[in-house]
Subunit: 121 residues, 4 copies
């Protein structure tokens, strides 16, 4: 599988089948899956806990397999959330990009790492 030719639906279907086989639907409520997602994300973060910000690129190379495993776990939890809640993730993404682009107009935030609430009006 490669990003170039894998659709989100294909991955969603794998995640769905995996849980179905284990009879895990009963545990996979939106609340629980949002917790799992946060926890997986924090496990990825832990890898960079004590690295400097720029040095964290080096860290990715040192911990290549762990990093790849953690991003995969995050994706798994996210897809499972969308599967159980009937959310089309690509559609949600496309809609949100329009909002985000409005919140962060190029002119105002070019080269600035501000939150949109901190941008001058």
């Amino acid at each position: 599988m490669a990003d170039k030719n894998t659709t989100l639906q294909e991955l969603k279907d794998i995640v769905k089948a995996f849980s179905k086989e284990r009879d895990w639907d009963q545990f996979h409520t939106p609340k629980n899956l949002s917790m799992a997602l946060t926890r997986e994300a924090s496990e990825l973060m832990e890898i960079f806990q004590w690295s400097g910000s720029k040095e964290s690129f080096e860290r990715v190379k040192e911990k290549q397999e762990a990093v790849q495993d953690e991003v995969a776990d995050v994706l798994h939890a996210l897809l499972r959330f969308c599967d159980m809640t009937d959310i089309d993730l690509s559609e949600a993404f496309a809609k949100k990009m329009i909002k985000t682009a409005k919140k962060y107009p190029v002119k105002k935030c070019k080269g600035k790492p501000l939150k949109y609430t901190e941008l001058d009006n």
Copy 2:
């Protein structure tokens, strides 16, 4: 866009162009992006903070737009992380699924919400 016909690469390219236009590469280190990812996940989680586990399905309907926005933000941060670190997310996912399937054999964990370290040997 729809999950059925959208590849991960297409979404990654959108995220890349978005950041490039804003000259944000300088801030998008693995460390910072892992923090952003965790924060976005916790914002999704906040929506279900006080709901019961099963009631959280109801909550998704009440807060439909917020939920969709938050899953989109999580995906955005995740894709951006993979873009900046040259990780093929689909490939990482496929590899990890094999490991996860081994950690959680159907026989042992069917209908059980245990962590693999808690499964009987």
Copy 3:
């Protein structure tokens, strides 16, 4: 030590000495400590990942030692953050309680688990 007769300063001093002995000040920036704090909190949360909300009281008993270890780790990270940033935690707490009480007037939020932004005006 017991909550009844232990001050926050006493705990802060223990944490400070612990890090000093290990020459860890150099890693303990506010950014890094806020990451550690989030991660420790998510480790506590993981214990309750698949429990129902009410069943989580039972889970505390089953996992007593793990739960106590995790709350201790959270406190450790929090005190270390306040130590490195010269924040008097009790003072910050007292000030914030006044704000929180205003945000959540008893009349409006009695028996309601709403976020203050969701309270009717």
Copy 4:
């Protein structure tokens, strides 16, 4: 109130009274409070999202009030968790410090930001 002369029990009592007055015990399960704790921690973390690690000390000064509010919120959630689960936080802390000191012997980890699992044996 000041860290020098405030005990954890005093703060716990304030938190307890605050929730009792609002009839919030019903929502304050260990599961929910562990979620709230994680979320509050991630709100503190958000303040340092785009700062460099060392620059984050500067950021504390710029965002003084926000930082103090967030550490207070974390403490609030932590105390409330311990209140609802009958955990003496100081006692848990003292016990855990002994374990942590064993995991991180001065000799092995002086000046090193490693996780104990990464220390040479």
